[in-house]
Symmetry: C2
Subunit: 231 residues, 2 copies
């Protein structure tokens, strides 16, 4: 974990979608005092562990993380992936302790926002921003649930690839070509499939010219065809 020159909220590229959204400049200054400068995490670094005291959320400025729990048999179950522009840790706010592990999947820059300090400032706009973020996450959560329940393995994988594409597009990146930071094993775990099944589906989609993969770079060739598969 390396230190970097502090970047303040007031100069941050995520300002419009993060906690400070809609705040007046003077309030952003207060927020600055409550957030730590962004930290650079190496690949496979643990950001926080399940059960640990946690009164912060983390904004992903670059890179990506996976959140997972470990069940009584020691098996890891991934509950969510988060990429650039996401806020991590919202589900831990109620209990004050982390509901999952959070681990970087690549070199990533995260910005910690200490909520306990923030709430003490009584900025109503901040709380309503958090409500917005959380409500949106709830909606996403059930959307993902719909993908996983009651659909074939192919539909799950296609819906997964399209949802990342949408996320990338919403953050100004290419929706037809992006890097998949997670392994096939992680994807399989997340979707409740066997690795082999995921791999077979990738090759099948490639044979049909719908997608292409080169290393971890994924290219989507035919959106309409893919979208028709998840309908």
């Amino acid at each position: 974990m390396t230190m970097r020159t502090p970047i303040q909220c007031s100069q941050c590229s995520m300002q419009s979608i993060c906690v400070p959204a809609g705040l007046v400049p003077t309030d952003v200054e207060i927020l600055d005092k409550c957030s730590r400068e962004p930290h650079l995490f190496n690949k496979r670094n643990v950001v926080f562990s399940e059960g640990q005291k946690l009164n912060s959320v983390f904004a992903i400025k670059s890179g990506s993380v996976k959140c997972y729990t470990i069940d009584s048999n020691g098996k890891q179950q991934i509950t969510s992936f988060h990429m650039v522009g996401d806020i991590v840790g919202l589900e831990s706010l109620a209990s004050g302790s982390a509901a999952t592990y959070c681990e970087t999947m690549e070199t990533s820059m995260l910005c910690e926002i200490r909520l306990s300090k923030l709430f003490a400032q009584e900025l109503p706009k901040v709380e309503s921003n958090l409500l917005q973020l959380m409500s949106r996450r709830l909606a996403n959560c059930s959307k993902h649930y719909l993908n996983v329940v009651n659909t074939s393995a192919e539909q799950k994988v296609v819906a997964f690839l399209l949802s990342i594409s949408t996320h990338m597009h919403q953050h100004g990146l290419s929706r037809s070509e992006y890097r998949l930071p997670m392994t096939r094993t992680d994807i399989a775990n997340y979707l409740g499939l066997a690795v082999e099944t995921v791999s077979r589906i990738f090759t099948a989609l490639k044979e049909q010219q719908l997608i292409n993969t080169e290393q971890s770079i994924l290219t989507i060739n035919d959106f309409t065809a893919l979208e028709s598969r998840v309908a």
Copy 2:
């Protein structure tokens, strides 16, 4: 939909777990002005429809509801069940429009809390209560996700029954004997299984003396045995 004598938040049995939790009496009075008196809904009544303008949440004082979406093929997919003590509609807060349909599964009494009016009052405690509620729901959401992904059909059903048991217990009701307000078809839909599979699992569990069903009344005979199945 029938009217009843108004019950104010200040006299409500759900006070401690609902939006007014922790408010001072004078604030509860303000809240009272923002909520409508509880309404009695008949079985299979639609509380709200997907896409409709919605700036309220609903507290379930009695009865139960199911939330579902309808996909492009017209197929209903249940996203959540809610029973006594739950707050419904949190995921719609961000967009201002309902993310799902909400329908009663039995005669139910719901209390509408109009958030738009509430937020105008600037009661910081109310917003932080909502944050708590929503964060807890997020945690529940991923817990349910864990049940559905990567487990056998039996594990899904057992985990489902146990989660309802826990909910009942948390609300002062018996954890070993309760009424299942939803049909087997609904359970199957929710868990992503075929009705027949759910039915077969119920009979198998009965044959092993782990549970009993009489009409819609479910009795749990052996918690430890059931819990060992989901581990």
